[in-house]
């Protein structure tokens, strides 16, 4: 056996090429999209709607989001539920940096999207969380209804399924 080769044995190229890998990507994406673990993170009233989305009536565990984690090390998605102020921005950045790849971000509501009602004449509010971390899905509303957040989460799942899997 030739040990200098990284893959022992013989490689037989598949006809048409790479179908196995493409299917594997689909399986990985399907698995990832259906077990997104959100980080427990809420800075204002959007967090109340987020809790409602998690609770019995809207029950986001139907779509695989029930395992909310209190540590960024175990979370896949951070839902920015609320206003980000200048003092909170470095904390949000650190939480995002501590999350393991692949990681996703949902900006929930007007404050996280653009500063919302605090866009004008405010000395303390970050005008959109995307000044601090990259955002995948934005949700309109002040605060958005639980249905809107569920729609955003399902949109994120579609986004994951339609992309190449990060490996």
């Amino acid at each position: 056996m030739d040990v200098s080769q990284p893959f022992p044995g013989e490689v037989h190229p598949t006809a048409g090429g790479g179908i196995l890998v493409t299917k594997l990507d689909e399986v990985i994406n399907w698995a990832r999209s259906n077990s997104l673990w959100p980080l427990v993170f809420g800075t204002s009233c959007c967090a109340i709607e987020m809790m409602s989305t998690a609770a019995a009536k809207y029950d986001w565990s139907r779509f695989g989001f029930e395992v909310a984690r209190a540590t960024p090390r175990q979370a896949d998605v951070i839902i920015i539920a609320g206003t980000i102020v200048n003092k909170m921005a470095p904390v949000l950045r650190r939480l995002y940096d501590q999350m393991a790849d692949p990681k996703y971000v949902i900006a929930m509501g007007a404050c996280a999207t653009s500063g919302g009602p605090f866009f004008y004449n405010t000395y303390s509010v970050v005008k959109g969380a995307d000044h601090v971390i990259p955002v995948d899905v934005y949700v309109a509303g002040c605060p958005p209804r639980p249905e809107a957040l569920l729609h955003a989460l399902i949109t994120l799942q579609e986004k994951i399924r339609n992309n190449h899997a990060e490996r």
Binding site: Y120, N121, Y123, S124, K127
Partner: protein, 151 residues
């Protein structure tokens, strides 16, 4: 104690105090120089027992500031509002943190956001803003071209 009784008692104690009419609670307007003495008296000694300062805030009227104290008594269940008018150039008022302990943080907040100086406060530092922050963000004439988008 009823509103009228409270008014009579306060007028005896401080003849110079002016009462504001039409408010939910009896409201007196006083001078900052008499505040420490009045605070000590209404806290204990003369039977008013205002033992709970439940709100301390400041208002910017552009021409002057007003510091507003909301006091209540957990013994007699009566409430009093004290308003003190302060000069815009030198907004100074003596601290009441030694009389009502809760005032310590409330006064720090009013100092941090409005720039009201509470003289003889034990620890008058920034509370919400960072230590190196310059300016008083809740004043009407506050400008911050870096963080603020004016409308």
């Amino acid at each position: 104690m009823q509103k009228d009784e409270l008014k009579i008692k306060l007028s005896e104690l401080l003849p110079s105090a002016a009462f504001e009419e039409g408010a939910e609670w009896p409201t007196i307007l006083i001078d900052p120089r008499v505040w420490t003495d009045l605070a000590r008296h209404i806290r204990s000694g003369i039977g008013l027992d205002f033992d709970y300062l439940f709100c301390l805030t400041a208002v910017d009227w552009k021409t002057h500031f007003t510091v507003v104290y909301h006091l209540t008594s957990t013994v007699h269940r009566h409430t009093l509002v004290v308003k003190i008018r302060l000069d815009r150039e030198r907004p100074e008022v003596p601290t009441v943190s030694d009389i009502w302990r809760t005032a310590e943080f409330h006064e720090r907040e009013a100092y941090d956001l409005m720039g009201i100086v509470f003289t003889e406060h034990p620890d008058l530092r920034r509370l919400f803003m960072t230590d190196e922050w310059i300016g008083w963000p809740l004043r009407k004439d506050y400008e911050d071209p870096v963080n603020m988008i004016k409308l």
